[in-house]
């Protein structure tokens, strides 16, 4: 692939959606997704177990959960692929059970695994999609070429998709979902299995879609992905939504954040640790470096807001003659949120419990 031939980019691509879809999208107060009490069982497994979800129109909504938490089943119900055993769901105002065709006319689904025809070329795959969605022969050709340009696949267009890299397939998959801009796009783990570059490209596309007015429901097991992209996040575990809010709200719900203190003298550390514990009322952990201390602040910070509590504790240290080189109050990571909510970490997570570093200090 030569960069020189590629003139289009996501950034300057315009949407290609029908007037009806645009009108509906801007209709005030309509939720993109409204689900209550959804249940789906497979044998003894309750994949979705009383799921309630309200997704506003516009922006990216993240559905965060581990493998097997019920993300994919939930998406399949909302995209009319699976009938729920109980509960109800409306997508853009249409009941998924009563009027699946109306739902399908307004959504696009990009599943967990690329669902393109591997033996067909990139162009042929997009043409197929365009023709099925009702574009004329010429329109379909033009639209496919434009999309391939915009998604950086113009050079690969005539090649069979089986020769594409994982990232290229994903991009083509998303391009196929954008042949006619959907009001709501389901992206089921769009970056699973991609290298960092592929991931960034997909992120760029998701942001572009959201800017252009498509509501995106994204499932992910990566906390940083949800943090990067989603304006709102729902955490799903064992088929239920266990928390819901903006990334900031979720982080605030588990505590005010993490305090990192760096001392001037290693010899002061033990004294400083005891002083901080008294001042903040939480466990203070020595860091890996002999001059550092960290603490996870939570509701126990004596009912004060974290900032002033930390300020006071710093002045207490200086009263005791301990010199603080630097200190920083950071937000808790979503990883910590996840741990606090579910009692277990995500498999790729690295919680900031310094158990490993504690072991180094003797």
């Amino acid at each position: 692939m030569t960069a020189a031939r590629r003139t289009g980019s996501i950034a300057d691509m315009t949407t290609y959606s029908s007037p009806l879809a645009v009108a509906e999208r801007t209709a005030a107060g309509l939720l993109a997704i409204e689900a209550s009490g959804l249940v789906k069982t497979f044998g003894a497994i309750r994949a979705v177990d009383g799921l309630d979800l309200a997704v506003p129109q516009g922006g990216v909504f993240g559905l965060l959960g581990q493998n097997g938490a019920g993300k994919t089943t939930a998406i399949r119900i909302l995209a009319t692929l699976t009938r729920p055993d109980a509960g109800s769901a409306k997508v853009l105002g249409y009941d998924v059970r009563i009027d699946p065709h109306a739902v399908r006319s307004r959504i696009s689904l990009t599943g967990q695994f690329a669902t393109l025809d591997a033996s067909l070329s990139g162009t042929e795959n997009l043409l197929l999609q365009a023709r099925l969605l009702g574009l004329g022969r010429r329109e379909a050709r033009q639209r496919s070429a434009e999309l391939l340009d915009a998604f950086g696949l113009a050079d690969a267009a005539p090649r069979a998709v089986r020769t594409y890299s994982g990232g290229m397939r994903r991009r083509l998959d998303i391009a196929a979902s954008m042949v006619v801009a959907p009001a709501l796009l389901f992206l089921d783990e769009p970056t699973t299995g991609l290298d960092p570059r592929g991931r960034r490209q997909v992120w760029e596309m998701v942001r572009w879609l959201a800017r252009e007015g498509t509501t995106v429901l994204l499932t992910t097991q990566y906390l940083d992905e949800a943090d990067q992209l989603a304006g709102r996040i729902a955490v799903i575990d064992h088929g239920k939504i266990i928390a819901d809010g903006t990334p900031g709200e979720l982080k605030a719900s588990v505590g005010s954040g993490v305090l990192h203190v760096r001392l001037a003298e290693p010899g002061d550390r033990e004294r400083a640790r005891r002083a901080l514990e008294r001042a903040l009322g939480v466990a203070i952990h020595p860091g890996a470096d002999a001059v550092t201390l960290t603490a996870r602040l939570n509701g126990h910070a004596a009912g004060q807001d974290a900032g002033s509590a930390v300020g006071q504790s710093m002045s207490q240290l200086s009263d005791e003659g301990i010199t603080v080189a630097t200190f920083a109050l950071g937000e808790p990571s979503l990883d910590e949120v996840f741990l606090a909510l579910t009692g277990h970490t995500t498999h790729n997570g690295h919680t900031t419990h310094n158990t490993a570093s504690e072991a180094n200090v003797t």
Partner: protein, 271 residues
């Protein structure tokens, strides 16, 4: 070098969202997909054609003399049978491709789109018709080269091909049902082989049932493949009766009614 559209010049299409599915258009589009796939995967057709071609050559020259006095004479008997065999072997590809589409997630994509849902299956069958036509022309061409001269002439051949296409289309629905039930394409293949080999050999494709022991003859006479081959021979020879052709058409209608409904039921109820 082709001109590259800058994306700012994109126009908004004038049509609204699809308010209802388009039956014919969706089916034709899916048929186009099946043809493209057939073109990109020619080995599927090659596999299906290889066996009838081989059998036509082998049986004609190896056993022809012994069975009918001369290879030429035997070929007149055999060719309508190998034509049937050709089409029956290809019918399974409908089930294979549906099974692949399910396992690779393509069905999910189509099922979440505003298209006439049966188009996914019907389109595949349209694609199969092209394969039948290609394969039957090949086997017929070979037969004509070898000296096959049916007394029904060109008209008889065309009618025979038409009837075989109808029957092939109908049988395909058995495999589409199985393609949605069975886990892997391999399972579909194995099962189809297990069904087709006895049905093809224990029929009147290769020998006249008059020479068979009574119990086998009873089976061969009841075998639907025999009925089809009989009708085919009669059409090619210009001696077909309404009963012979009618039997095949009725059987085709019954197959579509039962397995067509079953396929769509399975397709819709997939969870």
């Amino acid at each position: 070098m082709s001109a590259i559209t800058t994306l700012e010049t994109l126009t908004i299409p004038q049509h609204g969202r699809l308010s209802r599915p388009r039956i014919l258009r969706n089916s034709l589009t899916m048929g186009w997909r099946a043809l493209l796939k057939a073109r990109h995967e020619p080995e599927l057709v090659a596999d299906a054609v290889a066996i009838p071609v081989l059998f036509t050559l082998l049986f004609t020259y190896l056993f022809g003399g012994a069975l009918s006095g001369s290879p030429q004479q035997y070929l007149q008997f055999l060719l309508p049978g190998t034509l049937v065999m050709t089409v029956l072997l290809i019918t399974v590809s409908a089930g294979l491709s549906l099974n692949n589409d399910r396992n690779q997630g393509a069905l999910d994509r189509f099922r979440s789109m505003p298209v006439w849902q049966p188009a996914v299956v019907v389109g595949g069958l349209i694609g199969d018709m092209a394969r039948y036509l290609f394969a039957t022309s090949l086997v017929l061409g070979l037969g004509l080269l070898m000296g096959y001269r049916p007394s029904g002439g060109a008209g008889g051949i065309l009618l025979a091909v038409a009837l075989i296409l109808i029957f092939g289309f109908s049988v395909s629905w058995i495999w589409t049902s199985l393609g949605l039930v069975l886990r892997s394409a391999q399972a579909v293949s194995i099962l189809s082989f297990a069904v087709q080999v006895p049905l093809t050999f224990a029929s009147n494709v290769f020998v006249s049932p008059a020479t068979l022991p009574g119990w086998l003859r009873a089976f061969v006479d009841a075998n639907p493949v025999s009925h089809l081959v009989t009708a085919e021979r009669a059409l090619m020879n210009g001696t077909a009766t309404a009963g012979q052709v009618g039997w095949v058409l009725l059987a085709s209608a019954a197959l579509v009614a039962v397995f067509g409904s079953l396929t769509m039921l399975l397709y819709r109820s997939r969870s």
